[in-house]
């Protein structure tokens, strides 16, 4: 038999079967982490059949183990338990089936599981899944909210009631899932995928009520955390009570403490918003009125400035100037007149002083010839000539007589 099968030289089934068995055997012993989906103890045999599933994925394998292996390593094993087993794949040519044969089984206690979670938490943190900068803000008023929660649960009721109370017109798309147990993670992953694809859903709420540590384990599942991180739609988580901290809470874009709180974060309160708008309106009003008042005051102030309010002032000044000049002119003229008058008086006094009246008053007479010439020398006249004699008190006529 050659190494390659061909159409001309095909291999018989037994050869194929044997080769498959050899391939499978090559995997060898492996340590496996899984979850018990089913345990079947067939009466009359020592072999226990276990269906071992992946908590995060929808697949499983059959595991066989001797009864003693179970009794030693994992007494009281029940469905849903997480186990660690040491096993080797086996291929059964007769039926062509595959199973793992375990020679060691350990049940993971809560302590071990929690320690695992701590390690996972550090890993995810180091990868940046908890980074606050990567968190997306939910929209202020979502068009549609995707809600992933247990059917008819208190969480579902709380989210819907409170959201509708705050914003009556809110629209929800609800997907009910198992929120604990083996089916939870795959169902939640599916729900997230569906909502993420829905273009109208712009925020997702993942909510469940309180429960034991085991009950909340699905919400610390690695695949779930990575799926929430990968969601482009913002995710609000509200898992358990305030004190519970499943890992998905760290990955979420918003962590709400309860389903009611999630509704508060997702949707604004209509009454509050109306009040805010009223307040803002009031502020706008006051601002505008204030502006107008200020401008009016400024205008009034400018208008009351004297140059505008009393333009007569321009004229007053000039009128005053003109008046002053007038008065100066008048003063000058008066001055001149007064000086003139004084002059005249002066001259009159001098004239008076020169007047012969005073001399006449002293007893002198003025003698004039017929032609009016004033006589000073006797030779100016002849005997018999008429003379005019002026005295202080009057006139005399006289004739010249020689002495």
């Amino acid at each position: 038999m050659s190494d390659q099968s061909t159409a001309e030289e095909p291999w018989p089934v037994r050869v194929v079967s044997q080769k498959i068995g050899a391939w499978i055997g090559r995997l060898g012993w492996v340590w496996v982490d899984g979850q018990i989906a089913q345990i079947t103890r067939r009466p009359g045999t020592q072999v226990v059949f276990i269906t071992l599933r992946d908590p995060s994925a929808d697949l499983s394998l059959t595991v066989t183990a001797h009864r003693d292996v179970l009794d030693t390593g994992a007494p009281n094993l029940s469905e849903g338990a997480r186990v660690l087993l040491h096993a080797k794949p086996e291929f059964f040519p007769a039926r062509g089936t595959l199973s793992l044969r375990a020679d060691e089984i350990r049940q993971l206690g809560i302590g071990e599981l929690l320690a695992r979670l701590e390690r996972l938490k550090k890993l995810l943190a180091a990868e940046g899944l908890f980074d606050p900068r990567r968190k997306r803000r939910p929209p202020f008023l979502p068009g549609r909210i995707g809600l992933v929660t247990g059917r008819a649960s208190a969480a579902e009721r709380d989210v819907l009631t409170n959201a509708r109370r705050r914003w009556p017109a809110v629209d929800f798309r609800v997907i009910n899932v198992a929120v604990q147990g083996p089916a939870a993670v795959p169902q939640i992953l599916d729900a997230l995928a569906v909502l993420e694809k829905d273009p109208e859903v712009d925020v997702i709420i993942l909510a469940r009520g309180g429960g034991s540590v085991e009950d909340l384990l699905p919400f610390s599942d690695e695949a779930l955390c990575r799926a929430v991180f990968a969601c482009r739609t913002p995710v609000i988580t509200a898992i358990g009570h305030e004190t519970d901290t499943p890992l998905v809470d760290f990955v979420a874009d918003v962590r709400a403490s309860t389903p009611t709180d999630a509704a508060k974060r997702a949707v604004p309160d209509l009454v509050e918003e109306r009040q805010r708008i009223g307040q803002l309106r009031g502020r706008i009003d006051r601002a505008v009125v204030g502006l107008l008042d200020r401008e009016q005051h400024r205008l009034d102030a400018i208008r009351s400035r004297p140059v505008l309010a009393r333009p007569e002032a321009l004229l007053d000044q000039r009128a005053a100037d003109v008046q002053a000049l007038r008065e100066r002119a008048a003063r000058c003229l008066r001055h001149r007149l007064e000086r003139g008058a004084a002059d005249v008086d002066h001259t009159l006094a001098r004239l008076r002083a020169l007047s012969p009246k005073a001399t006449l008053a002293r007893g002198y007479a003025i003698v004039q010839a017929a032609d009016g010439a004033v006589l000073r020398e006797p030779e100016q006249v002849r005997e018999g000539d008429p003379l005019r004699v002026r005295l202080a008190g009057g006139e005399l006529a006289a004739t010249v007589a020689v002495p």
Partner: protein
């Protein structure tokens, strides 16, 4: 004059007042400046009055439809 904005009118009014207060202008100029200043002040006042009217009208419209604003 009427297509002057409020700010333009106010600015020019302030300039005119400064000029008048500084003095040194002829009588003719002073009177002309004063007249223009009065016109500009009237324009400003009309703007302010118009703004108040618009505000009051908007408030009335707002109060009508739902009665509580």
């Amino acid at each position: 004059m009427t297509d002057l904005s409020y700010e333009a009118a106010r600015a020019e009014l302030a300039t005119i007042v400064e000029k008048l207060e500084a003095g040194g202008t002829t009588l003719e100029e002073s009177l002309a400046l004063w007249e223009r200043g009065e016109q500009l002040a009237d324009v400003c006042q009309r703007w302010l009055d118009g703004a108040r009217t618009r505000l009051d009208a908007a408030r009335e419209r707002r109060a009508e439809p739902d009665g509580n604003g």
